[in-house]
Symmetry: C2
Subunit: 266 residues, 2 copies
């Protein structure tokens, strides 16, 4: 498929790109809504955070925004951005003066509508390894998610949850997790693994503005037995309520619909 490669329509990337060789890069998956990109500033902030942590030079913000704007010219869709450290010689050592590669893809909006009755979820066997240096950012090393997502083939099951190696709940394979515990929304802290999603930030910001700040802490998976509601969020879906965890029915919290309404007005 064609992509915008460093600002030019192309269907080709350099086989020596470090994004391919080492997953040496970052990505963002963004929703186009009414011709604009939803939460664009927050996507660019997370990208900048990841680029700083990996020491990948960031493209000029004006250039990036202009290119995203050009790709976004439609009512509804997904834009995927990849930023890599660019092509390099053999070896892990990053080039002294990297020339990053930026890619923009226009992808169709998912056809299936959000499951208003909630999603059923279970647990993946694949665990998330922990590494504070990579935790939270949306880097290109995603084999754990690929292995986890390969665990089920049930069209009726939209997502599944993952733990780290210490039995902490971290989130879904492609979503962040919020659990209502003793009346308070609680979300796993992501200082060891996981991706700090833009929609996670949006939910936390929205909830705080309503006077219900979200608690961010370590969340042992076993504690979810005491949750009275669960939500899954990502930049595309907004919030999905969970109607069943591992066979246990959960009430669909009306907060999801309220939040999704707010997201659609952004």
């Amino acid at each position: 498929m064609r992509a915008l490669v460093n600002g030019r329509e192309d269907d080709c990337i350099d086989p020596m790109d470090r994004g391919l060789h080492y997953g040496d890069g970052l990505f963002e998956t963004m929703a186009v809504q009414g011709g604009g990109v939803r939460f664009l500033d927050w996507h660019l902030e997370r990208l900048a955070d990841g680029a700083a942590r990996l020491a990948i030079p960031l493209p000029e913000p004006g250039t990036l925004r202009a290119e995203i704007g050009a790709v976004a010219a439609a009512d509804r869709g997904i834009i995927k951005l990849i930023l890599t450290r660019g092509a390099g010689e053999r070896g892990y050592r990053p080039p002294l003066h990297p020339v990053p590669t930026r890619l923009l893809f226009r992808l169709p909006w998912p056809a299936p509508a959000a499951p208003t009755g909630g999603v059923r979820v279970g647990w993946c066997r694949t665990r998330l390894g922990r590494n504070p240096r990579l935790a939270g950012i949306k880097h290109l090393n995603r084999l754990e998610q690929v292995l986890a997502r390969a665990e089920w083939d049930d069209a009726d099951m939209a997502e599944a949850l993952m733990m780290d190696d210490r039995d902490r709940a971290i989130g879904g394979t492609q979503t962040n997790l919020f659990a209502r515990m003793a009346g308070r929304w609680t979300t796993p802290v992501l200082d060891q693994c996981g991706v700090a999603g833009v929609m996670r930030r949006a939910f936390m910001s929205w909830a705080a503005a309503r006077g219900e700040p979200v608690i961010e802490r370590e969340l042992p998976a076993a504690e979810l037995a005491g949750a009275t509601a669960l939500l899954l969020t990502n930049a595309i879906i907004g919030a999905w309520p969970v109607c069943e965890l591992d066979g246990r029915a959960l009430p669909v919290d009306p907060v999801a619909a309220e939040f999704n309404g707010w997201v659609l007005r952004q």
Copy 2:
């Protein structure tokens, strides 16, 4: 640079390749010696092991060997092979019928000669996260190694060691580690992280044939204070003796030169 992409000379890969998007693939770095690839069978065995564990279909072995043979037609060099799950739609879920991408690169032999006096090494701050599902295989998720290798810029320091998050020594950023402990060669077990190198296998096989089987076990980094010699191995360098660990001088073990002589006769 030009590569052999699915058997055809090309300088282009599909921007939707899952190797780029998720690091969803494997690689091998092989030494060309006298027009042939050293330890080719073992490289292909490790590739097959990794492909089975990631459920990536393996190219027909005859095809792969023929292509490697074509690229290897020179006296000295490096061949890098990448095998990815191929292009796919957006999303972590692997395609039901993946069409893998195979890439072969011909790269120059490293110019600097092996340090016969041994290499100085220290410890990287970057730790290796643990995940048994990915341990041992040579997959494309290598950001930890990239971050570790970015920690030093001393041309005199060829390699540095890495621990996991439990202070176990695992190996160098691009090498496996052997420590002589109480007279026996000992190497970290790689069931949690690390890459089980082909030259590691070669050293273990060579040592066993000499009646000195290598002990494979968890190796707390602190125990290396008691090591009387250290070796680092990989498919290109063979074995490098370590002459200094974190400022402590170590004698260069003659085993390295003996082993390297044997490697050159393979």
